[in-house]
């Protein structure tokens, strides 16, 4: 095959997660043949979003203004701070409509082997934020993986003298999960941290 614009488009589409050569081919032909108006609109939207999107100066959430809508709102509880790994996690927690505090987005987790250290996950900015407006509670909404565990331990140490209550999301048997299929680690944890009724 020659290196035509169509080939280059297919190559370009493959940067998307989950898109292999075959899907990229289908997408490219669809955009160029069946839905050129949609393709133009997509082109415009992508350009606009790339131009406007930035990180909130306070919490590092993706937004298009100096402060994101959560940080700019005066209806949010400034006493509670929820630390999340990614904008997706922030979005998912926000969708629950149960949390009224503020956020801080790390954009990753500590991973020495991948050379991701405190600076890469915005610890200096988090420290500045904690000093400027110390919250009374910090919720570490981090994954239960080695990287999440490492990050939680590190932040816990950072916060140990701040006076804030530090908590982590609890873990256990998932909704709709049959005990038979729950992995041993989770089952052991759920048993250790069982709740009185």
């Amino acid at each position: 095959m020659t290196d035509s614009v169509i080939d280059r488009l297919m190559q370009g589409l493959r940067i998307l997660p989950g898109v292999g050569p075959r899907t990229a081919q289908r997408m490219a032909f669809y955009l160029l043949q069946r839905n050129t108006d949609g393709a133009r609109e997509l082109h415009r939207l992508l350009g606009d979003a790339l131009e406007a999107a930035r990180l909130c100066a306070r919490c590092r959430m993706l937004c298009e203004t100096e402060l994101c809508s959560v940080c700019a709102s005066d209806r949010r509880d400034a006493e509670v701070l929820c630390v999340v790994q990614s904008p997706t996690d922030q979005w998912n927690i926000e969708q629950l409509q149960q949390y009224s505090g503020r956020y801080f987005v790390l954009h990753g987790c500590l991973s020495p082997m991948e050379r991701i250290g405190p600076d890469e996950i915005g610890v200096p900015l988090l420290r500045a934020l904690l000093e400027r407006s110390p919250p009374s509670e910090v919720i570490l909404a981090l994954s239960y993986t080695l990287e999440g565990e490492t990050t939680a331990s590190y932040l816990q140490e950072l916060l140990s003298d701040s006076g804030a209550t530090v908590s982590r999301l609890s873990r256990g048997v998932p909704q709709g999960g049959e005990l038979e299929y729950v992995d041993r680690q989770t089952l052991a944890q759920a048993l250790r941290e069982r709740r009185a009724l």
Binding site: M113, L146, T150, S153
Partner: protein, 240 residues
């Protein structure tokens, strides 16, 4: 098909959409393997293939990258390492990844690693740094031995025994050399002899052991720093 062998995951990183690329560590040495589909939401391996967890593993394939075919818990699930013990585990894993090549068998070192994991797991929830140092120093000594760089802590390079009251310098490739004076960067003989007995009785002994092993490991690690060390240079606690 090979039998299941005891092993650990040293490191894992995402591979394609739903798989892990694993650095495995067993008595046979390091192995690189792909765990296909293990990152999928309902994978039976997702909780299993975590570092520090004693596992039974089986892989197949030739060449550099193998395919993981089986993974099981050794016995009851061991509680994951967390906090400072977790930082120590990461440090040990980084040391192994930086110094061992895939395929080199290190049976004794593998047993030492298992002991280290068990020891780290048995520590109280928030251990003092001093409680973590002895297991780490012992593992570093064993690692040097396994790689053929064993430290002689009984004698200096000339063959004369280390004197408790003497002072010594360490020269990589040569060994301990008597220092004419007790300069600030010289090691006290007493502290060296204590390390030889795997004892760290006081702060000076702990400092000596740390400095000596850091110097001895440096030629094996190359110029890049160890990234897990950054976790220990405590974040500097926030004051309210």
């Amino acid at each position: 098909m090979r039998a299941l062998v005891p092993g650990y995951v040293l490191h894992r990183r995402p591979w394609r959409e739903t798989s892990w690329l694993l650095d495995l560590w067993s008595a046979e040495g390091r192995t690189v393997a792909i765990a296909k589909g293990a990152r999928a939401p309902r994978s039976r391996w997702s909780a299993l293939l975590e570092p520090f967890q004693p596992l039974l593993l089986q892989w197949s394939g030739r060449g550099e990258v193998h395919t993981l075919t089986e993974a099981e818990w050794v016995d009851a699930a061991a509680a994951p390492l967390s906090g400072r013990a977790g930082f120590c585990g990461l440090y040990a894993n980084e040391l192994l990844l930086r110094t061992l090549l895939p395929g080199e068998a290190h049976t004794d070192l593998f047993a030492d690693y298992g002991d280290l994991m068990a020891e780290l797991r048995s520590l109280p929830a928030e251990p003092e740094i001093s409680a973590l140092e002895l297991p780490l120093r012992r593992f570093e000594l064993r690692l040097l031995g396994a790689l053929g760089y064993a430290l002689d802590l009984q004698r200096c390079s000339g063959g004369e025994p280390i004197a408790p009251a003497g002072h010594y310098h360490f020269v990589p490739g040569t060994g301990l050399c008597r220092s004419p004076s007790a300069s600030s960067d010289a090691f006290a003989g007493e502290a060296l002899l204590a390390l030889g007995r795997c004892e760290l009785p006081d702060l000076n002994a702990r400092r000596t052991a740390k400095q000596l092993l850091r110097t001895a490991l440096r030629p094996l690690l190359g110029s890049a720093p160890l990234f897990s060390r950054a976790l220990f240079t405590a974040p500097g606690q926030m004051r309210s």
